[in-house]
């Protein structure tokens, strides 16, 4: 194209564009991605996985879920989820009967094990799901946890 046209294009760069390039806008500076509000509002396993960007998940022995059979205190239930499959890039934990079913989503950066443990609140006895993003697919494991004292303040 004509040099004059090219120069005019260059001077049309917006301030926003320049700021993005300079890393002055928080999104580019932080390693954190935008909070996936839709996923955290999902009520069912399928809703959550859809909000995470996947299709209906399938049961898989590649995902290991470690939960107590009976939780004495619903306020603090230790859950562990892991997978040795190298294609896993994300692991999510869901408490089916909680008002907010999705408890956590862990990314698996290269070099990090797909193995996470945390404590969750369970309002009542419920199925707990560990969902893993394996390549393009979403797969899951599920176990039931019985809760003797509910943990959401209700």
């Amino acid at each position: 194209m004509e040099r004059r046209q090219f120069v005019q294009m260059g001077s049309g760069t917006t301030v926003l564009g320049l700021m993005l390039a300079a890393g002055l806008i928080p999104q580019t500076a932080a390693a954190q991605t935008a909070y996936n509000k839709a996923a955290f509002e999902g009520k069912t396993l399928n809703d959550v996985v859809k909000a995470l960007g996947g299709a209906t998940p399938t049961l898989s022995a590649d995902v290991l879920l470690s939960v107590p059979e009976i939780a004495e205190n619903g306020n603090v239930v230790r859950i562990g989820a892991s997978s040795t499959n190298p294609a896993v890039t994300q692991i999510a934990l869901l408490i089916e009967k909680n008002p907010a079913a999705l408890a956590a989503v862990f990314d698996v950066p290269a070099g990090t094990d797909a193995n996470f443990s945390t404590n969750v609140k369970m309002g009542q006895s419920s199925n707990v799901y560990a969902v893993a993003k394996m390549g393009d697919k979403y797969v899951y494991a599920v176990k039931e946890v019985k809760v003797t004292l509910g943990g959401c303040g209700g």
């Binding site: 956590a104 950066p109 990090t112």
Partner: protein
């Protein structure tokens, strides 16, 4: 929020296991206070950890995570004597960063 995170990072060869205990209410927004009104939601939404400038853990949390959250994760390629940094940001924009030396 005021209290520092308790971070324990241990090396087994080049595999580093990190356990973190954070201080945070993790209020769901469902609970009713003494006045009968729902206590507003106040919970950590975003957690991450870095080692040698690289992100080794990155998670998004919801209000189902317990009060004073615990998390454990592990990564390869670390060594004793180096530092791991853990950060969190909550739904009100409050944040905290703490670090620990790998033992």
């Amino acid at each position: 929020m005021a209290e520092p995170m308790r971070i324990r990072a241990q090396a087994q060869g080049d595999k580093i296991t990190v356990r973190v205990l954070m201080s945070h209410e993790m209020e769901t927004g469902q609970r009713r206070g003494a006045d009968g009104k729902a206590v507003p939601a106040h919970f950590i939404q975003s957690v991450s950890a870095t080692y040698a400038g690289k992100t080794v853990m990155n998670a998004q949390w919801g209000p189902s995570i317990s009060k004073n959250p615990f998390v454990q994760f592990s990564f390869k390629g670390g060594k004793a004597g180096d530092k791991v940094e853990v950060n969190w940001i909550d739904n009100k924009g409050d944040k905290r960063t703490d670090e620990a030396v790998i033992t």
